[in-house]
């Protein structure tokens, strides 16, 4: 990776009030995501989940950290690797799992599957399977908020691979030009499918790319949930104050293959193992345990609770129903309701 980022913006003053309950909340959220993803991998093998499945394991700190800074009235635009964002945003595990199954009880009525999680209630504007395709949407959501005088923020997640797309360029320019309330969150996991960052970008420091649109940008350790939460709080506060967009690059790694079809010929096992040592969950948990905030027992209890939640979610999905084929054409247009 390249030099340190060009601009730093975390004001320590903006650091969230940190207490035990909150720490456990963060841990629980990350663990929920990890467990969900690992169980999805199994369900994929069992052919309960089909299509493309992109897992978030390793990157949990990003979604969880950023979401802490958002209020319910804010909006989220995510990618096809969005289970983590969905869970961290508060979408229930059972409706999310039902969506993985394609059941009518799924959060998108089963229509979208893994790549297209939508939730109007939580202003979760999807899952988008076109790399970079959500970025202009985020700009538009923020534009609508600004024009309507809402002090709302739109958080827009995307991978470092998306930074090569024209949509990235056009979106960042528009957001800064019009001073729109967008929090751009680049999940830099070093690979776009099998393409390493240095083979897709002439400038590998993504945060510097943002700076060249004059968007204040910052590179972060994407494995450090506290650092991300703090940076997100600071950035969101500045955005809400009318400061225009902000950009966070979170340097992370995906522990699993790109999708379930990926033989991972493009990276060394050793590299993967080295990164796994930096696991955001392990790290945070050890830190909590060492600081005496968390006991091993408690971790076990949380894990058991999550397992139960997951089992219930799977049961919910299994018990879910298939949308009748007669409804296939429903919701192509509004009139068809």
């Amino acid at each position: 990776m390249s030099e340190p980022p060009s601009e730093y913006h975390v004001s320590t003053a903006a650091k969230p009030h940190f207490n035990r309950a909150h720490a456990l909340h963060l841990l629980r959220q990350m663990l929920r995501i990890r467990s969900f993803e690992e169980r999805c991998a199994e369900l994929y093998t069992e052919e309960k989940i089909r299509g493309f499945l992109h897992l978030y394991s390793g990157e949990e700190a990003i979604a969880v950290g950023v979401m802490q800074a958002l209020k319910p009235e804010d909006a989220v635009v995510a990618t096809y690797r969005e289970h983590g964002h969905a869970l961290a945003r508060g979408i229930a595990m059972d409706t999310l799992m039902a969506e993985m199954y394609g059941k009518r009880e799924g959060v998108s009525r089963g229509r979208g599957g893994s790549m297209h999680v939508f939730d109007a209630e939580r202003r979760f504007y999807g899952g988008n399977a076109i790399v970079g395709g959500g970025m202009p949407l985020a700009v538009g959501l923020a534009l609508a908020d600004k024009m309507q005088g809402h002090a709302r923020v739109t958080a827009c997640f995307f991978g470092e691979g998306a930074a090569a797309e024209g949509a990235f360029h056009e979106s960042l320019n528009l957001a800064e030009l019009w001073q729109l309330p967008v929090l751009f969150v680049c999940e830099n996991n070093l690979y776009a499918m099998g393409t390493a960052l240095a083979r897709s970008e002439s400038e590998t420091d993504i945060s510097r790319k943002a700076a060249c649109y004059r968007i204040p940008a910052m590179a972060l350790d994407g494995m450090d949930v506290i650092a991300i939460e703090a940076a997100a709080h600071a950035a969101v506060a500045e955005i809400r104050a009318g400061g225009g967009p902000r950009f966070l690059e979170c340097r992370s790694y995906r522990f699993r293959a790109h999708s379930m079809f990926d033989a991972q010929l493009y990276r060394d096992k050793a590299e993967v193992e080295a990164w796994k040592k930096k696991c955001p969950l392990l790290r945070f948990r050890h830190w909590l345990e060492e600081a005496g905030i968390l006991s091993m027992d408690e971790t076990g209890r949380i894990e058991a609770e999550i397992d139960a939640e997951l089992d219930a979610a799977i049961a919910f999905a299994e018990a879910g129903t298939w949308e009748p084929v007669a409804d296939l054409a429903r919701d192509v247009y509004t009139e068809d309701r």
Partner: protein, 329 residues
Amino acid sequence: MSTETIRTTYREAVRAAICDALDRDRRVFLMGEDVGRYGGCYAVSKGLYDQYGPERIRDTPLSECGFTGAGIGAAMGGMRPIVEIMTVNFSLLALDQIVNNAATIRHMSGGQFHVPLVIRMASGAGKQLAAQHSHSLEGWYGHVPGIKVIAPATLEDARGMLWSALEDPDPVILFEHVMLYNREGELTADAGPVPITGAAVRRAGTDLSLITYGGCLFKTLDAAEELAADGIAAEVIDLRCLRPLDDATVMASVRKSHRAVIIDEGWCTGSLAGEVSARIMEQAFWELDAPVGRVCSAEVPIPYPKHLEDEALPQVRDIVAAARAALGR
């Protein structure tokens, strides 16, 4: 409805429709390249910037993908944007946003979101703008479920369809043929909304059905006039709503005339005209006394010189010839 009329142009009718929408609904705004200070590439929005200000008449950078996507996002966020893509030629840069986002979000979100957006674009050839600036892609857009497509050709429709499009909860693509902007005519002073649901019979006739839309409407009416001089009564149907298509009006005409020719500025292969022909095949085959004909553009990138451009595009003489062929005389 008053019968008082004003003399106006297609351009002014579109402008009046935009003003009307801006006045009626605070959520409406116009956004696109040079819609503001420049006054619009085809002068449609001239004066609106001064009247409504930079927020509601919003100039954009050259970023078709970006601002079209932003229009989709803004529509989902509670606004009623009118996105102007300067011409259909540049809309190819925004097509991913239109096809993969605007058209799909309602369905794939299980009905949770919808995209109340209107995208206007100038389309067609005739101004000697050559191969990259002369496309007619209405038929392409008509292929995509989840969007609606309209092509007002008359002053009434230019004045009235925009409002209906904005009231529609789903994305509507609105085509304005470049050769129509200067057309003058009378419009009733209180011309109101025109629904975006059906075709219009522009001239009644029983001998054959001439089916068209957009920039070819007036050529087709001229052809009908010429045919009339020869004792041939052609019915002229202006499809105007290209998705969904109004099959009922088309089939009713064909059932009466038993012969049809479709006139469409798109390249022939894969044209909207082909679709209409296929539908007549499917729905009115037994009524036909002759194969349905098509008059479309030659399958070439449209060249710059006038004589070649004219040769490439459907002309009145081509329509008359095709009509005669359909009638066997």
